[in-house]
Subunit: 419 residues, 4 copies
């Protein structure tokens, strides 16, 4: 089974946008191999526009010449990924990443390059040509590169194209594909998702299939669980408290859909060094407490953990945040986690361990003031437990008269493990 | 804490409609005390229109003379509840029920009798009169008895009236109040719910507060958890497969909101002898398999169990259905239950035991044909368990290569306990 | 044919609210007879709550004792309408008004008094009783007096009640009935409108049937034209520029539905002395230009003209406004009027005379500044006309090179007659 | 003023689809010049895809090579329009049409060819290039040729492109441009409409600007009147009674917006020989009565008249239908026409003559049975007229006791002229 546990890794978007290059990817991979791998971090993912030679920011350039082969399959721009020269694709980079004991991933847009359609290129290992299977009416509204495919009217042709690209990715040694412009495009992308999933399975390689952007529709949960390993549950997530607060709502709705092979995705963790804003600042605007809240929530809901910052610039706090094994344990060893209650000021989540020996409770202070929070174990049928520890501070929490009392910073969290 | 576990009991509506009388209530209570009490069944609830002397069916009669005191508080109609004569109210009947070791409940409509408003009666223990606090624009669209109260404009007066009736119910010995025309009336009934909850708490007696009818809005879950012990999550439920199938959707959405003191309510169980239909048939139209599915789902989601049939007429199957301790155990000893997956033909639910020693899995065949169903334990991280039993048949289920294989009847269910 | 031309008259609401009395009605009637009758003003209408003895403002009092006969038919409160004592009803007042050469009208709420239903009174000249035909679920959301009738389930009974009241009104000599809580209540009041129309026709007297409040739905235009003589096209209209500006939109939509017997109604004209506001001011807040705009628009769309102020207090401007025969001519002699164009600053309407000898054009300055406006006759195919006069100033307007140039005050209007 | 009266002419779409050629256009023009010109028919319009060499049906071919110049301006495909060879464009054909005493029109899609954008062509007489001004996200959902322009973000560049094409059309001698994919695309095409209108005016030639497809939004009536000479009020209209019946609703809503220079457009008249259907039939499926109804309605609302059939194949009925001067008079000489009433079976329209000497009334039988219809002149204030004629049969209609009685075929119409 692919993605038996929630995938953990790194993605280039939050820090490098559409402009990431090979050196930057390697630099991050090396850091992760050295400092984070033993905690479970493994996927190194190159995000959007790696086939665009002139990409230099978070913006997209329309009608540009993309690097592609004679079958309309995109290749890395050699000026940005030198090892890919001579149509070697991502194979050399993937090999390098694998050599570090990590896994390699890429981002793609659904569909085929618009230029491939206008040039009516042949589809590899098939009798189809691009003109017949590209859908001139199916475009992405925020990226100008592709046409979607005629997945229902020209199912065989669309299947041939998707098979052709996933076969290529498998040859390159890709372990993770993030497909964009698709997860919130129900119902018209339903069949396209199915064909992509099929091509992924048929590629002959274990490839994690990740769908973006969100919000994916909650009512399609079963279709998503069947056809993808992870899918975005919100629009792009950045380092703003309002977005983090909003994530609690989505997490509440989606939590029962987490399980081996299928994980609702709360998007990348915007921690450490990110893209520069207008003031030249490139450091996450989240407070340390907010980052603790974010990590706690992602773990309690068993969301994939994909770091978004430039890892080599991590400070001590950031590295500790990402490598706290007491917290990461929740991702692996719990099941059936969900929100317990929510008030104007507080939210609580519960997550029982699969082996029944312990149960986690996270208490979030969503108010703007420091708060004393009281957790009554009997109110949530946890009065059977006699011992509790707080997992961020690694301290014992006392249970008196069935109550645990803690003080929590504004926008902060504590995570209790009852045993 | 009131309703520490999901309430279990009986309600008069499904078999007697608006016309139930004292003899019928007693007859059912006696049966329950004798045959069902030791399984947890305890509440005996008199449903709508007990204050209406001429009620004789499931229909309501507009503009009729209701039995009420000089403070606009409704009293049982003595012709139907003889023990209540001379304004003794439900006290004698409640005493009788208590004497059987059971608890007693009643149904009310929100608001005050229209006649009390038109007569401008005084409110007990206050300086308010009915005319000022009744809201002439707040009516129920399916029952003609009451006006809602001006809970925001005349908060003190509305509080006084609700306090006056809950105080009376406490004096009678009422243990359960089902308030109708309110749970789906958000947002305008928000304040009315709060005042009723407050009156219930202030009554000085432990009274389960149940809100009807559904569907209560999911987005009001936290308000409901704070202000009620149970609330309906669907419109009225009857013995039709379509309604049962629909309940799975609601159960999926609401399951994470179950917990001590607050239980999403899937409505009465229409089992055994019900009201006569046009053909003179009075027996539930559910097949035995459907009844097993219903009981399994209600338990997996920890819904309150309120039997709707005329209990003394129960046949052996019905009684066994209601008193299977292997199944009822799920209501008491699990937490964090939720749906695992759903296809066109199958649904599965999981519910871990609070003590971590076991985990329940229910497999539902929602197709119209007998099915072989396979449950892969590893797919749901249950591969740590080595033993399984089926709880309806009380048989051992074999786990081979991590799989449990079962054959399930159309619309039927099996419930596995992994240990 | 009833209402062959748009009705003109006076209504008590804008100045006296729910509290109007006989002396005030007479005072207005006398003024109208003396000063306005020869311009077409004829209906004198007593608005809401004439059956409520304690009404003393624009507010309604719930659960009060209304004056009614043993058949549940409302009668004037004798303390407010002394001539109605001893159940003579409005006959004496109507006779008085008729004696002045005017016509008499009343306001009613759809349905029957709630008290009549609760008392289950018999219906005059029928075997029905109130309890059977009153609909306990059909109430007005802003007035507490009545229950609507079961017009579909109990059609014969509902017909009997409406016949009984319109027969009474005919006996009283009523010429105009404004039925409230009905015109915007489609679709559920469709049948009620039909029964009221039928009762009106069956009364044996020519009675103008007016439906309120608005907005009546545009898509019901044909039903309204068939079943009423006038119907409100907006919510209540008062002396605020924003409401007047909004009326242009409704007038544009409804204008093609004006015609003999059926007139879209833009509500009363709030001119002169109105109800007191919080500052003690009781004079219309409209500027003189706004009043000219209002009268011009009402006439161009051929809306009924119902003055709302206390007529005896009219100043010279107000009386002239209401009695300008050059303008009132538009109401009577045009057809097929409609909006010609609208910009951010200007609106123009056209209304050809039925006899083809002239054509009216109204130019409205809806900006906040004085404007020079130019009307190109050829652009609107009026270049055949050689002469123009302005009807408010009674002056000649020059046509040069096919253009008419006028200067119009902020929120003001000019009305040109091309001949 | 352009389009001082409602444009009349012919369009190639209904009979030839995307495949029309020069010979066919000439053949129709010659017929019109000979048989219809004296009745006002003048515009000969080449519809969609004249720049596509391989177009051969009513379908569109994606990603095909379109004929265009080095500035991204489309040219007629010389294989279909031989006279346009060597980039002479439509000049020779326009000259030919003009030589017949008629006017020449073309259809365009909003935006620029996708290929022009992908090739980043320069824009004529400007410093802009295609890549900057084409909007990769603005496509037509039913035709694959074009990208819309960045009319707000790159206003100057978009203006330059539109000016460049309308200047070319003026050079060719084009008198009518039908712009497609735009009239129902409010609000995002608002600015594009304004730039196109501006380019049309700036072209230096009187060009009728027609916007398609419908339904254009009624609330944009004033914007449309300012920026176009005609605009479609429904989706494509074909020879089906349901569509014709539906047109009455739209006609009712839009009629007050007809006037010199701006005409709501009810689409082409599908009469005579049209495109072949699956059965090989190419004759209009409208009955003769339905065609009379259509012509009567189009005239009463003063809609543009654009014939859609292959004119040389007209039979006698069709030619008479299109050249009945008694009916066409309504288009030219009336104003302020509108619907009078509508029932389940009947509809009536009125249209007064601008000179006041006569008034038209059309009576439509929308039922499926022959009907006797009675028109009461007094009910519509036409009792001043003493004489009436029926304009399709050219017969006198008698007015007795103020009534005109006529018998009308199913789906048919009579048109009365009162004098």
């Amino acid at each position: 089974m692919v993605a038996k546990r929630p995938p953990m890794g790194w993605n280039s978007w939050d820090c490098f946008g559409a402009a990431v290059n090979e050196a930057q990817v390697k630099e991050n991979a090396e850091y992760i191999a050295k400092h984070m791998k033993d905690c479970g971090w493994e996927y190194v993912v190159v995000d959007i526009e790696w086939y665009q030679p002139s990409a230099d920011s978070h913006e997209y350039e329309p009608f540009s010449e993309l690097v592609m082969d004679e079958y309309g399959r995109l290749y890395p721009a050699p000026n940005r990924f030198p090892s890919s020269a001579d149509y070697k694709g991502f194979k050399p980079l993937a090999d390098y990443i694998h050599g570090l004991g990590l896994k390699f991933g890429i981002h793609i847009m659904r569909g085929m390059p618009r230029m491939a359609a206008h040039k009516d290129l042949p589809i590899k290992d098939s009798e189809f040509r691009a003109k017949k299977i590209a859908n001139p009416n199916s475009i992405c509204f925020w990226n100008p590169d592709m046409y979607g495919l005629k997945c229902t009217q020209e199912e065989e042709g669309a299947r041939a194209y998707y098979n052709s690209i996933f076969k290529l990715y498998a040859e390159w040694g890709v372990d993770f594909v993030k497909v964009d412009d698709i997860a919130r495009e129900y119902p018209h992308c339903r069949k396209e998702i199915e064909l992509i999933h099929e091509a992924c399975v048929n590629s002959g390689r274990d490839i994690v299939l990740s769908l973006s952007p969100g919000p994916a529709p909650l009512k399609e949960a079963e279709h998503l669980k069947k056809n993808a390993n992870m899918w975005r549950i919100t629009d792009d997530f950045w380092d703003k408290w309002e977005l983090l607060l909003e994530m609690f709502k989505r997490a509440e709705e989606w939590c029962t859909h987490s399980g081996p092979g299928h994980w609702p995705d709360a998007d990348m963790l915007p921690v450490g060094a990110l893209r520069q804003d207008y003031n030249g600042n490139d450091w996450t605007r989240f407070t340390e407490d907010e980052q603790i809240t974010m990590m706690s929530l992602w773990c309690m809901m068993r969301a994939p953990l994909i770091a978004g910052g430039h890892m080599p610039k991590n400070d001590e706090f950031t590295l500790n945040l990402l490598t706290n094994k007491d917290i990461l344990d929740i991702e692996v060893n719990t099941h059936c986690g969900h929100q317990l209650y929510r008030t104007e000021e507080e939210i609580a989540w519960i997550a029982p361990c699969k082996d029944g020996k312990a149960c986690y409770v996270a208490l979030f202070n969503i108010s703007d003031k420091k708060r004393k929070m009281v957790f009554e174990t009997a109110d949530y049928e946890l009065d059977g437990y006699k011992k509790a520890t707080e997992r961020w501070s690694h301290t014992k929490a006392s249970i008196r008269n069935g109550e645990v009392k803690v003080t929590v910073n504004p926008h902060g969290a504590v995570v209790l493990r009852f045993e």
